[in-house]
């Protein structure tokens, strides 16, 4: 999909007629139908993928068919309305939060201009309040007295095929980043509303291919990239070869090793493509340096979980391998790599979803003796917490000047920042490994961080223009520090970020690279017995 020229797109964002530029809608939002055209929707999941998933134990993906959002008739199952209303009823009963979020919005508008999709598209239905209203209006109609009696006067409407289309459009123009909820006086988590809308759509066989492909890969091989055990192992070993080439130190990682103290799990993309590869090299160097007794797993070979972007059952099933493998190998605790949504799942759901993990111990760093009480229930610690603690206790020998070719800023990845409060640790680590560091403006970082614009499985190329629009607020903040301080590297702790920010930067800020923090750690570490060549571009140097 060709993307508009930068000048065109940026002008269209700031000058085009939209709610964000002051244009006033001429119709009530309920009267504006959605129009699908190439470029404004992600491709629907292929029939055979949906069928495959539906045939797998523990998963429920009914009503597989060939369809296109551009079709007038979406071939909904005959009893589609019943499915939706029953599905909503079930979820209102199951998730008390959903009922609260449906009831308590006062339409104050605090969230309206906090959404990167709204800022990039100006589409009123991308205001979080209105996105939630797409579902809330149906909730009112079928589940509240006021809605039943007063109908549209009370903001209620019946669910129709047009509503289903609208749900599809706007639940896939939300990355569940939760920036809006950080500003909501009631703390309404609009991400959970999007999650529920997507779940309901899956009941009708409506989903997108870029999400269901990794889900089926992960169900089949354990990881999103579909890497089989020997391939996964070969990839990690290739990285070890590269490290030997660069530093002269041979690292021999182990796989599926019973009795290791720690099981390490990271997104499979880290052992698959740039720039994640360099992050993974960073892990390998760090673990070698401190002599960690750990193992990789070719079964629990994925930290990420695209199940989160489909429905509860698939999230639960895909995540179960973490504890299952930890138990099988008899490790004491789990260390997790740099990933965004993985940490939402691990930190907020894993314990009750797949636990209790009473066969594991509360994570304790074998190097410093620090006990990570914050992970007392999940038994899983984030690599940034683990590394920050190592620096705190002076256990890592670094030469910061090795990163002097970079001028770094830090992108708080949405989920680690807002879903687990990981704000200080990555910065603490960065402070110990780079000399040149500058923060982006304060309303674009920490809890208020702007999304990469392509999370929750929206990083597919048929919607590239949408992605460049929704990533603009983030890119704009990067541009600010690039121009003011000469920043040339955007660091982050998320695999989706590493992939999508790279595209985003190549569009908006082509002189800025993207890296994981562990890459910078690995590059700064002085290994025992190293024979390091002059590495102008750190671990990326081609020798």
């Amino acid at each position: 999909m060709a993307v508009a020229k930068l000048e065109q797109l940026s002008q269209s964002v700031v000058q085009g007629p939209s709610l964000a530029t002051g244009a006033i809608p001429t119709k009530d939002w309920m009267d504006i139908p959605v129009v699908f055209k190439p470029g404004n929707y992600a491709f629907p999941a292929k029939k055979d993928k949906v069928e495959y998933l539906n045939s797998q134990s523990g998963l429920h993906f009914p009503n597989a068919r060939d369809w296109s959002p551009e079709d007038d008739d979406w071939q909904l199952p005959e009893n589609w309305k019943e499915i939706i209303i029953n599905g909503l009823r079930e979820r209102l009963e199951k998730f008390r939060s959903l009922k609260i979020f449906m009831d308590c919005c006062v339409r104050c508008g605090a969230c309206a201009d906090k959404c990167h999709f709204f800022l990039g598209t100006g589409d009123p239905k991308n205001m979080p309040v209105l996105r939630a209203e797409l579902l809330r209006s149906v909730y009112r109609n079928d589940f509240t007295l006021a809605g039943k009696v007063l109908g549209r006067l009370a903001g209620a409407r019946e669910v129709t095929p047009e509503v289903i289309k609208e749900w599809f459009m706007y639940s896939y123009q939300c990355t569940e980043c939760r920036r809006c909820s950080a500003f909501c006086p009631y703390g309404i988590d609009t991400a959970e509303v999007t999650i529920v809308i997507r779940e309901l759509l899956h009941l009708l066989g409506i989903g997108i291919n870029w999400i269901l492909e990794p889900v089926s890969n992960s169900n089949r091989t354990g990881n999103h990239m579909g890497l089989q055990p020997h391939t996964f192992k070969d990839n990690v070993e290739f990285l070890a070869d590269d490290i030997e080439n660069l530093t002269g130190v041979r690292i021999n990682p182990t796989f599926n090793r019973k009795g290791a103290e720690v099981l390490f799990i990271t997104p499979s993309a880290d052992v698959f493509a740039e720039p994640g590869l360099y992050t993974a090299m960073g892990y390998l160097i760090l673990f070698e340096h401190i002599g960690l007794d750990y193992t990789w797993s070719t079964y629990a070979s994925e930290g990420g979980n695209f199940g989160l972007f489909t429905n509860n059952e698939s999230m639960k099933k895909l995540n179960a391998k973490m504890y299952a493998e930890a138990k099988r190998l008899g490790v004491k605790w789990i260390l997790g790599g740099e990933c965004g949504h993985m940490w939402r799942v691990v930190h907020q759901y894993m314990d009750t979803m797949n636990g209790p993990a009473d066969f594991l111990e509360v994570p304790k760093s074998p190097i410093t003796g620090t006990v990570f009480h914050n992970a007392a229930s999940t038994k899983m610690t984030h690599i940034s917490e683990f590394t920050a603690d190592l620096f705190k206790h002076n256990k890592i020998k670094v030469d910061k000047s090795r990163n002097d070719y970079l001028n770094v800023t830090f992108h708080d990845s949405c989920n680690p920042a807002r879903a687990m409060g990981l704000l200080e640790e990555p910065r603490y680590v960065l402070k110990h490994v780079v000399n040149n560091y500058h923060e982006m403006p304060e309303n674009t970082i920490r809890e208020q961080t702007f999304c990469c614009g392509s999370g929750t499985g929206l990083n597919t190329d048929e919607i590239m223009e949408l992605r460049m629009r929704s990533g603009l607020p983030r890119a704009n903040a990067v541009k600010y520090v690039e121009e003011k301080h000469g920043v040339n590297m955007l660091s982050c702790v998320c695999a989706i970020d590493r992939a999508t920010l790279t595209s985003l930067m190549s569009y908006w800020n082509p002189n800025v690279g993207v890296c994981g923090i562990s890459e910078l750690v690995g590059n700064a570490i002085v290994l025992d017995g190293e024979n390091r060549a002059e590495l102008d571009e750190g671990l990326r140097t081609l020798l």
Binding site: V3, W210, E213, P214, S216, N217, H224, M225, G226, L227, Q228, H230, T231, D234, N235, F238, D242, P267, A269, F272, A273, E274, G276, L277, G304, F306, C339, H341, G457, N459, T460, D461, M464, M468, A495, I496, A499, T500, T502, S503, S506, Y507, L542
Partner: protein
Amino acid sequence: MKELSVNDKIVTVDDEGFLVNRDDWDEDVARAIAKHLDIPDLDEEQVEIISFMRSYYNKFHAFPILRNVCKQVKQTGACVNNEFVDPMKAWKIAGLPKLDGIHFVTVDGVNYLLEECC
């Protein structure tokens, strides 16, 4: 679908240029697919890359790490991009199937990045 005529046989590629029947592949078919993808002919470096991709796929059933490809065929680190611009073209010319979750994106038509799903 598009039919390509190669010597005395006809092979089919899909709309994106992936060879439909992997057994149809030989080096002449590769050249025909290349032509279909606007690469007039294949030079020695390009042939080395696609041969490696084929043997890699047979062993690992996955897309290779691109740096690894270059290392194995003893070319420079960005060899696949340099030789084919879009590395997926090399994969198609090698007659290998489309893989889930793998795509290359470009915003300028010149630099192609492997943007894995996650």
